[in-house]
């Protein structure tokens, strides 16, 4: 399975890195923002650098939309997985339209309300994961991740 991993830098990147037991078994392509941290962590990985900032930033949304189209058209991923935030929006929408499965993990920092990114892409998601019961109660279509004991 070919997986496209999309996230911004900082906490969202850390969150996606923590899911390595899943993605390390698959052929993968990354999309993130170029920072000292992401650059060193993604050495040897196939990476496309997206445009930041994305918070309410229209020109960069257009740039990332174009990038999303190019990357998805070229790589044709089976699954697009994101831990947020804004940069995920164009990739998940275009990916869904191109026939990819789409998964979005809402940040652990979201307790009562979904992020704007999650609300925008909700109709285009195969699955939305949330980490708090209060949030799942408000969005019953979301899947609640219940922490498990280490196996």
């Amino acid at each position: 399975m070919k997986v496209l991993l999309v996230c911004s830098s900082g906490g969202h990147f850390k969150g996606l890195q923590q899911l390595h037991p899943f993605w390390e078994n698959h052929e993968r392509v990354w999309v993130s923002f170029r920072t000292a941290t992401t650059e060193s962590a993604l050495t040897g990985e196939r990476v496309y650098w997206a445009y930041s900032p994305t918070n309410r930033h229209l020109p960069n949304l257009c740039r990332n939309l174009l990038l999303a189209f190019q990357v998805i058209n070229k790589t044709r991923p089976d699954l697009i997985l994101s831990t947020g935030a804004g940069v995920a929006v164009p990739f998940l929408i275009i990916g869904k339209l191109f026939g990819s499965q789409t998964a979005f993990v809402e940040s652990v920092t979201r307790i009562q309300t979904l992020s704007l990114s999650a609300r925008l892409i909700l109709p285009f998601l195969s699955v939305l994961y949330v980490q708090w019961p209060q949030l799942q109660a408000r969005y019953p279509q979301a899947e609640l991740i219940i922490p498990q004991e280490t196996l």
Binding site: M1, S9, G10, G11, H12, F13, K14, G15, Q18, L19, P21, F22, T35, A36, T37, S40, P53, N55, R56, D78, L79, L81, Q101, A103, V105, S107, V108, T109, R110, I111, Q112, T113, S115, L116, S126, V127, Y129, Q131, W132, E143, I145, I146, P147, Q148, E149, T150, L151
Partner: protein, 169 residues
């Protein structure tokens, strides 16, 4: 030394900067203070300030610090929680235009409930500075990552196999 960090968020966090400045001016804090202020526009007088820090330098400062005061962001939380250093979080509030919305306040409230130190006022900071404590949430987030990986595997690897034999779910 006390390290104050507000991450790389595009919004200022001037409220925290002012709190730190007041504690320095009133000499409630008498040790060295290093501040990574990001996009804040007020800088606490009397502190050593950096706008952004390279990962290495940041790690070095955390190691040197006695305690860390940080904004309530996910990345910062995950990082601090993986270290053996007392930290206290201060939530960015939507009301003061410190973030796009109020999720840091919501997170702060939830973390308070599991005893993670969160400061809602300069007084909370003062108490923590004099009596730091360390409470971990990392076991939870590690366990969450494992649960997520399981779910992703069963959901998508199964689906991918099904699709190859022409069965749709």
């Amino acid at each position: 030394m006390i390290l104050v960090t507000v991450g790389t968020e595009q919004y200022p966090f001037n409220r925290l900067m002012s709190w730190v400045e007041v504690l320095l001016q009133t000499e409630i804090i008498q040790e060295e203070v290093v501040v990574q202020y990001g996009n804040s526009t007020i800088l606490p007088a009397g502190a050593r300030v950096y706008r952004f820090l390279k990962e290495e330098k940041f790690q070095e400062l955390i190691n040197q610090a006695r305690i860390v005061i940080a904004h309530c962001g996910e990345g910062t939380l995950l990082l601090l929680d993986s270290l053996d250093k007392p930290y206290i979080l201060v939530s960015r509030s939507h009301k003061y235009q410190e973030h796009v919305d109020n999720h840091q306040v919501e997170l702060g409230l939830s973390l308070s409930q599991i005893n993670v130190p969160v400061a809602w006022s300069p007084g909370d900071l003062v108490r923590f500075i004099h009596e730091p404590r360390k409470v971990s949430v990392s076991d939870v987030s590690q366990a969450t990552a494992i649960a997520l990986c399981h779910s992703l595997q069963s959901r998508f690897e199964q689906t991918a196999t099904d699709l190859t034999v022409g069965v749709s779910r």
